[in-house]
């Protein structure tokens, strides 16, 4: 069963790789643009830290770690999650989702792995480079255990992002228009580039519990620094798994209500 799905995943990934390899100049262009956005994200931080040594009790190298996770997460989001799920909107609108539903494999799996953008790997590498610079400035290396916790939290963040996307797709069974919802989500996701302590009052609550941006970038950064407490980490992991289960349930319910575009 699992072997079959791994094989299916490989088939889908290979199809995207083959397509991407046909447009090799794009690799260069997306690489340059990734680096460009990196600079773009760093400019405000560099300006702020020219006049201050710490903001909301985050120093420059620590804030750089948040930016590093943000860049990596955005890379994975735009490389793995977004391409497939924006295509679902198109399929719902044109009615070709039916072709996916009749295939003898799980529909959620098929639509989630339909398309990848391999060149976004450059973003992930750029994020890694910024993390490297941050630890160089801190003058130490992260403890191996902390790296493990940070990676676990990063996976939890991906799970949450993916689940949010699935919920948006479910919603689009009824409202059809998906593309500008995805732009809205990307715009809000921008707030994850700063440590959560920068936000105050209601915003911090919203970005921690409703739309958990804190989990996505601040918690992994804290974990790398070794300042993450175990209870919050466990709660974050549990919460993200719970959220994924919820998304799965909503998906099954939405699918049973799905009426094709033609009917």
């Amino acid at each position: 069963m699992i072997g079959r799905y791994l094989h299916l995943l490989w088939v889908q990934v290979r199809a995207s790789l083959v397509t991407a390899m046909q447009y090799r100049v794009d690799f260069l262009v997306s690489g340059l643009i990734s680096v460009w956005w990196m600079v773009w994200t760093l400019v405000p931080l560099l300006v702020v830290y020219r006049g201050r040594t710490s903001v909301a009790s985050w120093t420059l190298p620590e804030a750089l770690l948040v930016v590093a996770w943000f860049t990596m997460l955005r890379g994975v989001l735009e490389g793995v999650i977004n391409p497939s799920l924006t295509e679902v909107g198109e399929r719902i609108r044109t009615g070709t989702l039916d072709f996916v539903l009749v295939k003898p494999a799980d529909a959620q799996f098929l639509i989630s792995t339909a398309k990848f953008a391999p060149f976004k790997i450059v973003d992930v590498m750029a994020g890694g480079a910024v993390a490297g610079i941050a630890f160089h400035r801190l003058g130490r290396l992260p403890a191996p255990g902390d790296v493990g916790v940070a990676l676990l939290l990063f996976l939890a963040a991906l799970l949450v992002l993916y689940s949010i996307w699935i919920l948006v797709v479910c919603w689009s069974f009824w409202v059809v228009r998906l593309d500008n919802l995805s732009y809205l989500f990307t715009a809000i996701f921008d707030a994850a580039r700063w440590p959560i302590d920068v936000f105050r009052g209601a915003w911090r609550l919203i970005f921690t519990f409703v739309l958990p941006l804190a989990l996505m970038t601040t918690y992994p950064a804290r974990a790398l620094l070794g300042t993450m407490d175990a209870r919050t980490a466990l709660a974050a992991l549990g919460g993200s798994i719970g959220f994924a289960v919820l998304a799965r349930l909503v998906w099954r319910r939405a699918l049973s209500h799905y009426t094709s575009a033609s009917s």
């Binding site: 794009d26 262009v29 643009i33 460009w36 956005w37 600079v39 773009w40 400019v43 405000p44 300006v47 702020v48 020219r50 006049g51 201050r52 710490s54 903001v55 909301a56 009790s57 228009r177 500008n180 919802l181 732009y183 809205l184 990307t186 715009a187 809000i188 921008d190 707030a191 580039r193 700063w194 302590d197 920068v198 936000f199 105050r200 915003w203």
Partner: protein, 266 residues
């Protein structure tokens, strides 16, 4: 006379479209979150160590709210529209019509402004209430007039830049990548991310010789009363100078690009 009639007809259609797709329109407007994200950062900065290079908390609030208003009123999406129409070939339909495509685009996009202005109004009210009426554009008829001119100029500059980049789509396949690069430059050099006054000296110096400040920073500074009357008028002259330059550039790029487009069709 019939030209004017055609233009007003396109304006009317554009307005009706904007009203018909108002929900979608609202979602688009809500994607302008960057000023708020930046404001959160600066609020934390001002809260933890007092004013930053002369910028108090209230100054940051006024600045980024004004940024939201100016972006809401002046931004257009013509570069994506042109890219789409060139790739799908529907640009040919526009060429057949007796009205120049750029004139038609301008009418379609001008028509969206009333609705955009209506959506920017609540932000403007908050700006007036929080920053204090005296702080925002002093009741000075000259500067209020200059602000209207500055907003019109900023809209034109952004629109013309998008037309130039959109026209590049006739030569290149990836004109949207050029737009992304341009947008990055714009965000840094126009005062969208960080007020230009807080930027390092060399960057501010460079922005004096580039059109970016005229596109956003200048109207914002004028709106929140950071410019004297003389400065405002000088910047306004500079801004409209850029409008003329970009207009010439647009015309040249289009004339040359069109020859390429015809070659595609043959």
């Amino acid at each position: 006379m019939s030209r004017v009639g055609a233009y007003t007809a396109i304006l009317r259609i554009g307005l009706a479209e904007a009203v018909a797709y108002r929900a979608e329109f609202l979602v688009w407007m809500l994607t302008t979150t960057m000023p708020l994200v930046m404001l959160a950062l600066w609020t934390a900065v001002a809260a933890s160590g007092g004013p930053f290079q002369g910028f108090h908390q209230a100054d940051f609030v006024a600045y980024y709210l004004a940024a939201m208003i100016v972006r809401t009123v002046t931004s257009t999406w013509v570069v994506w529209q042109m890219n789409q129409e060139i790739r799908m070939g529907t640009l040919s339909l526009r060429l057949l019509r007796p009205i120049h495509p750029f004139i038609a685009y301008s009418a379609e996009h001008l028509a969206a402004i009333p609705l955009r202005a209506a959506l920017a109004l609540p932000v403007a009210v908050i700006l007036l209430l929080t920053a204090g009426g005296g702080h925002v554009v002093q009741a000075d008829p000259v500067r209020i007039g200059a602000l209207l001119g500055a907003l019109a100029g900023a809209w034109l500059l952004l629109f013309l830049t998008m037309l130039v980049i959109g026209t590049l789509g006739l030569y290149l396949e990836r004109s949207l990548a050029i737009y992304e690069v341009w947008w990055g430059l714009f965000a840094v050099m126009s005062g969208y991310l960080v007020p230009l006054e807080l930027m390092p000296g060399w960057l501010r110096g460079a922005s004096d010789y580039l059109p970016f400040r005229s596109m956003l920073g200048f109207p914002i500074e004028l709106m929140i009363g950071r410019l004297s009357r003389a400065d405002a008028l000088r910047e306004l002259g500079l801004q409209w100078g850029w409008v003329v330059v970009l207009l010439l550039l647009t015309v040249v790029a289009w004339r040359r690009g069109l020859r390429r487009f015809e070659a595609f069709g043959a």
